[in-house]
């Protein structure tokens, strides 16, 4: 097994994930090798059930593989416990989810401030206000998630993902819950922010149109890269 190159910000070798089910052991991901360079944007594309979200979870250290290794920013995730992986993620990783995942009791601004507050940054408010301005939501900054439309909620989520200037941004079907027009505008925003910040983007999607906007695409079928 080759070690990842120094240029890789994210790498995986022999990555396998199995789960037990009443029908026996299921292999969700099978022997995945990949290297993603700094500033690169990579789409993970495939049909439902291909293992896209599982791959994203393993790459982000949200889950542990059954076999294989993952390196994030040059550090191996394997062997780290949950707290160790959390520490590695802190300040390095941003997320955008299909179902937004905004905290309902926090306003738009406070949702954006959350990662900075957790990282103990003192200028959280100013930074969050600036990113919210960038996504065009300054007038809505005091609104709670339930008072925002789907597109607005995803724009808040994107602002929250970029506010900490992460090394890697993981986006899981970021337009999956939005209509085509809103989805396209949200995607525009995501890619332009990514270009500006030079963040590495790992985008999980089943939409070819979205995948085409990335530097390259990794195609998954039945848990294997094809």
């Amino acid at each position: 097994m080759d070690a990842p190159t120094a240029a890789s910000v994210l790498a995986a070798r022999n990555l396998t994930r199995k789960v037990s089910s009443p029908e026996g052991t299921l292999t969700i991901l099978d022997d995945i090798d990949l290297d993603i360079g700094r500033g690169e944007s990579v789409a993970v594309i495939g049909p439902s059930g291909a293992g896209k979200s599982t791959l994203l979870a393993l790459l982000a250290g949200l889950d542990s593989p059954s076999e294989g290794e993952v390196w994030l920013d040059g550090q191996a995730l394997t062997g780290l416990d949950e707290d160790g992986r959390a520490a590695l993620r802190a300040g390095r990783v941003g997320f955008v989810f299909q179902s937004f995942h905004l905290v309902p009791s926090l306003t738009a601004l406070e949702n954006v401030m959350l990662p900075l507050e957790l990282a103990g940054q003192s200028e959280a408010r100013a930074a969050a206000e600036s990113v919210l301005d960038r996504v065009g939501l300054t007038p809505r900054r005091r609104h709670y998630p339930r008072q925002l439309s789907g597109g607005e909620r995803q724009r808040v989520a994107i602002a929250r993902a970029f506010v900490g200037q992460p090394l890697v941004l993981f986006a899981d079907e970021p337009t999956g819950n939005l209509d085509a027009e809103t989805g396209s505008r949200v995607a525009d925003l995501l890619f332009s922010l990514n270009d500006e910040s030079g963040t590495t983007l790992v985008l999980v999607t089943h939409e070819e149109r979205l995948a085409d906007r990335c530097d390259r695409a990794l195609r998954l079928r039945s848990g294997r890269l094809v």
Partner: protein, 827 residues
């Protein structure tokens, strides 16, 4: 950012977003219930502390039923101590056409040696400290005595054979004690006036006090001197002895109030657990997100703990403030019992309130929130992953430990705590079973009623466990209120019904032997016939030749009764309210030296048939053999005795006579004439005594009811917690129903039926509980027939229906105010 800082922001944001209020309210109610009682008992205890320091009005006091030998006073003077004396006896005081029983305190110059007297120049005037004493021919009367006599300063009153002028209102004397039932307010006179009253005669109920004060060493010397010479009937008290009885009585009352408050607090704890559970389930997604952003388990746990600590501090503050305001009400309600001018409370209850808030949070909320640290970050991608479940041991163990700690803290006795905890568990378990059965039954009767009814019943059944908790919470609160109002009145009525129509309502005491016949014929001539019985005061000195002091009595009551100077009498016939249960009565051939003992007293003192009892009367000793045991119907209000002797045993000893008679309102004049004609006779108005006892009971009942209002408040918080925990579900359902065409009115009707039914079930449980408790009390404690009013079922059910129905409807109203589309889009 530190966990505490993050937690503080989170708490503020959650409160602002409308979350956490129920949790805060629940903790505040739990704290308010405890601190209200805490503040009150603290104030009363402080009052006792302050007064017990001067409760003797001296450093050392010799008490006696007989004149005290001058030896003690001579020795005290040699030692350079201050001395004073006081004589007290009960007597009727007359003013114009009014009469009232007073506790006459005749004092010598120098009284009080410790503490101060407070008087005022008229009833309307404020009290001031005085160093003077009433001059001979003058008297200072307690405000209550003046009120009963309908007199004021300046009035002339008759006391025995003399007339005195009231020259002041007595507001306070240091040794007035803590008579919770203040039967006889004080009349303070000069000792020089005592002989002229003609009230102090052999056999009268008089007690003498010799007071001493001075340097501690000299007091100890005098104490040793007196102790070695104490005569039977004399006792010695110093500050160390002051007020232990009152302290014990108070501690019991406080313990009871604290336990009553604890019921409210524990109900509130149920709401705390429910609100915490909802908060925990709402936090799962947030914690998963925090972990995605790099938060570690330890950080999450610290945030949860800090959040609870912050909430406990806020809720504790609110609770302490509410508790302080509530105790003002409690103090006002109990002013007559506890005294009107209580000192301000200390900081103890404040600290206690915050401690309580921390304890209930740690016991009931932390075990539900702490497991959040184990939320897997993967939950942000996979919602099907289960949230972490608190371990049963941790959750129940935490609650159990908190309950036990609370009980131990409030009861202060490990054994008693174990008993009370067991009682709590059994009662709670029993109520849960009955409540569960009621809810189950109600949900069986979906019947053919309209859709709102069916929907309401379905909703009740779906929230089964929570419904039961609510029924029990409200049921308990309503039950106590019913028990203390309706059932108590029913019991009083039953008791009254057992009294004969013309039961005696006046007691006559202190009738001298030479007056007995004259009093009997005086009353007979006026149609108020009475039979006077002789009374000899004596002390039981030995049972079966064993001195009383050495006997280990079976019960404390037996020891107390045997220790004190008792009332003895003799009779050739057995009164019809007495019944021989063992041995035989001396019918026709009484022999001297036989005694019949009241059965309960005999049991408590370990006295049996054939036992030889020795008595001491004024220094002389005599013996008698127990030849029978009797039961006595004490509430016949006729003179009755624990020990009744055969004729020929007691006649040689100094005695007075006592009797009882029935006086209706139209014959009140007879009593006044009797007192004028025989000034040394004391008339005690039993109706006034019963009235006083009733007032005390009423006050105590109101206080307990007041404390149980916290249980109702806790019930409402439980309801809020339940409504809150099912809010999303309710919101979704009502939006769905409305989207399908249900009218707002129909949903409202269904909600009203649901909560009304819940309330009615609580009321039903409450009525059943109150009737069962009432029956138990009547049958086992008061030995009365109890026919609980059938209206209780209706009262209870209606009360529950209204309280729970209205508060439930108010709490869910917001659900209906939201447009269905806005709601449905959220889910």
């Amino acid at each position: 950012m530190t966990a505490a800082g993050f937690a503080l922001r989170n708490v503020i944001r959650n409160l602002r977003a409308g979350d956490l209020w129920v949790l805060t309210a629940a903790v505040a109610v739990a704290v308010a219930a405890m601190t209200a009682v805490g503040f009150f008992t603290d104030r009363v205890s402080r009052a006792v502390d302050i007064r017990s320091a001067e409760v003797l009005a001296a450093d050392l006091v010799v008490n006696s039923k007989r004149l005290i030998t001058p030896d003690y006073q001579d020795r005290a003077r040699e030692l350079g101590l201050d001395t004073a004396s006081a004589t007290s006896f009960p007597s009727v005081v007359l003013a114009g056409d009014s009469s009232a029983l007073a506790d006459v305190e005749a004092v010598s110059a120098g009284y009080p040696l410790r503490g101060e007297l407070k008087t005022s120049v008229s009833l309307d005037d404020v009290a001031g400290v005085t160093t003077a004493l009433p001059a001979p021919g003058e008297a200072w009367a307690d405000a209550k005595l003046l009120a009963r006599l309908d007199a004021d300063v300046g009035a002339e009153i008759a006391l025995g054979s003399i007339r005195l002028r009231v020259t002041g209102v007595l507001r306070y004397r240091p040794d007035q004690g803590w008579s919770f039932v203040d039967l006889a307010p004080t009349l303070l006179i000069n000792e020089a006036d005592v002989p002229a009253t003609g009230l102090v005669l052999p056999g009268s109920r008089v007690s003498y006090r010799q007071l001493f004060a001075g340097a501690p060493d000299d007091i100890v010397t005098l104490r040793d001197f007196v102790e070695s010479r104490l005569e039977p009937g004399e006792s010695l008290r110093d500050l160390g002895d002051a007020g232990p009885e009152i302290r014990t009585a108070l501690e019991r009352a406080h313990r009871f109030l604290r336990l009553a408050a604890l019921v409210g607090s524990l109900l509130a704890a149920v709401a705390i657990a429910m609100a915490a559970r909802r908060h925990a389930s709402r936090q799962v997604e947030t914690v998963a997100l925090m972990k995605c952003f790099g938060a570690r388990q330890g950080f999450v746990l610290r945030v949860m703990m800090a959040e609870l600590a912050i909430l406990a501090a806020c809720a504790g503050l609110i609770g302490v403030l509410l508790g302080y305001l509530s105790q003002l009400g409690l103090s006002a309600l109990l002013a007559e019992l506890a005294g009107a001018d209580l000192p301000t409370p200390g900081w103890g209850p404040v600290a206690g309130g915050f401690l309580m808030a921390g304890l209930v949070m740690a016991g009931f909320a932390l075990p539900l929130l702490a497991p959040l640290k184990r939320v897997p970050p993967l939950r942000v991608l996979r919602h099907d992953l289960p949230g972490p479940r608190p371990s049963a041991l941790f959750a129940y163990g935490g609650a159990g430990a908190a309950i036990f700690a609370l009980l131990l803290w409030q009861v202060g006795d490990l054994r008693l705590t174990a008993w009370v905890a067991t009682g709590f568990l059994v009662a709670a378990g029993g109520l849960m079973v009955i409540g569960g059965a009621l809810v189950w039954l109600a949900t069986r009767i979906r019947g053919t009623a309209g859709a709102p009814w069916r929907y309401a019943v379905a909703s009740l059944a779906r929230r089964g466990g929570e419904s039961v908790v609510q029924v029990v919470a409200f049921g308990l609160g309503i039950m106590v209120l019913l028990l203390l109002t309706v059932v108590r009145n029913d019991l009083m009525d039953e008791w009254r019904a057992t009294l004969p129509e013309r039961a005696p309502n006046r007691f006559l005491i202190n009738i001298q032997p030479h007056e007995a016949e004259a009093v009997e014929s005086f009353l007979g001539e006026r149609g108020a016939e009475t039979r006077l019985v002789p009374l000899v005061r004596a002390r039981l000195s030995a049972i079966k030749d064993r001195p009383v002091a050495e006997i280990d009595f079976p019960t404390l009551r037996g020891k107390r009764l045997a220790d004190r100077e008792g009332n003895l009498s003799w009779s050739s016939t057995l009164q019809d309210d007495n019944e021989i249960v063992a041995g035989r009565w001396w019918d026709d051939d009484p022999l001297p030296g036989e005694v019949s003992v009241e059965a309960d007293f005999a049991r408590d003192a370990g006295i049996g048939l054939g036992d030889r009892l020795d008595f001491n009367v004024a220094g002389e000793t005599f013996s008698a053999e127990v030849t029978s045991l009797r039961t006595v119907q004490w509430d016949s209000f006729k003179p009755n005795f624990f020990m009744l002797f055969s004729p020929g045993t007691l006649e040689v000893y100094p005695r007075t006579h006592i009797g009882s008679l029935f006086v209706d309102d139209s014959r009140d004049q007879t009593v006044l004439e009797l007192v004028r004609r025989f000034p040394s006779v004391t008339v005690i108005d039993i109706e006034a005594v019963i009235g006083q006892v009733r007032r005390v009971m009423d006050q105590a009942a109101i206080a307990v009811q007041y404390v149980f209002l916290f249980a109702i408040a806790a019930g409402i918080v439980v309801l809020l917690a339940v409504v809150e925990s099912g809010r999303d579900e309710r919101l979704f359902e009502s939006a769905l129903l409305r989207a399908m065409g249900a009218k707002r009115r129909q949903i409202l009707a269904s909600t009203a039926i649901e909560f009304g039914l819940l309330g009615a079930l609580s009321g039903l449980l409450a009525a059943g509980g109150a009737l069962a408790a009432g029956w138990l009390l009547a049958d086992r404690v008061f030995r009365l027939e109890f026919n609980g009013s059938p209206w209780l079922w209706a009262t209870g059910t209606l009360a529950g229906l209204i309280v729970v129905g209205v508060s439930g409807l108010l709490a869910t109203r917001r659900v209906l105010d939201q447009p269905p589309m806005a709601v449905l889009r959220r889910f």
